[in-house]
Subunit: 206 residues, 2 copies
């Protein structure tokens, strides 16, 4: 028996991030097409922005850019055929579902769970940090909410999310989504396809 | 005789801007493909950044993002088949060639001239603001250097560049390249194709 290993792409994302929404919704289908395995790497953007000396996402602090980003999101979502509604709260705190995602990163339900949380935030416009909403997302992803929530809110797993956020900082991540193919970093939903091609070894390396 | 008017896309750019480099090199071929006419709109980024409260391009001021951007440029240039060398001076002052571009925006040589200036900056790594270099770019674009430089450096034309920069600010431009299809604004080289499709009316409007 031979085990064929597919190339991997690390996917660093945060449920509060609007451009992460587009990538979370697209990445599994795109990765299948490129025959690449996704390694899910949730991390907290808040502490990263704080360490970089920013209060929040750069565009939140800058009126012109902020107005543009929401129009861009409408157009991009339409382009990809994704539902979208501008959240009434932005950026939303998402620590609880992030803890679940860190815990479930290697589970078969991770992709479906992440898409459910993202739809809650960027389409249904509800509080993704509330336990009942996280529970519903887990149910829809065919995970066991009780078992998963118990493990996700344990001290060990809380520490894992903190450590993963520190790792993001160490590796020079300054926004989300970010993709790593080995040491090669790609930033932004606009680079998802480039990152997958790089991981798959199909792009002539610059 | 019937004059068929093609749809138009405004192209706001600055010779000092690295992502404008990618769009300047690509836009004429892409516009032909989409059967869209380009309206060349050079403007000065410096005063815009200053009014937004930034010293320079956001990524110049932020180490992590800065390191990323140059790697991204190498990969993007390779993807589009464009030559690229990181400029030893960045961002370069480009007031003289910008004045020429404002003056020549409606001329048949505008595209070729802009590509020459951009190659000087982002491949040959030379001072694009020096008159001899501007002169060489005009020659290669088959324009008349003496006549063009005389007109470009006249008071009236200097004022046109200032006014165009003020217009950029009024319309909410915060970076380059920026494209306008009517009132619809698209920011960044990554949106060039979307902007052309929008202008051509081929994209379902969100």
């Amino acid at each position: 028996m031979q085990v064929i290993e597919k190339p991997q792409l690390e996917f660093w994302f945060e449920f509060g991030s609007n451009y992460s929404y587009l990538s979370v919704m697209r990445i599994e289908a795109a990765a299948r097409e490129h025959q690449v395995d996704i390694v899910w790497k949730p991390f907290l953007l808040g502490p990263i922005f704080k360490e970089l000396g920013w209060e929040s996402a750069p565009f939140v602090q800058q009126k012109e850019k902020g107005a543009y980003v929401w129009r861009d999101m409408e157009r991009q979502a339409a382009k990809y055929g994704l539902p979208f509604r501008r959240p009434s709260t932005f950026p939303r705190v998402a620590v609880l579902p992030m803890r679940v995602a860190v815990h479930g990163a290697g589970e078969p339900w991770i992709g479906a769970f992440c898409r459910e949380v993202m739809l809650q935030n960027f389409f249904h416009d509800i509080d993704v940090n509330r336990e009942d909403n996280v529970r519903r997302a887990l149910e829809r992803a065919h995970a066991d909410p009780d078992a998963v929530l118990a493990a996700a809110t344990g001290e060990e797993n809380k520490l894992r999310l903190r450590r993963q956020t520190e790792e993001a900082r160490r590796r020079g991540i300054f926004g989300a989504p970010t993709f790593f193919a080995g040491d090669e970093m790609f930033w932004g939903n606009d680079r998802l396809e480039d990152a997958l091609e790089w991981a798959a070894g199909r792009r002539a390396h610059a």
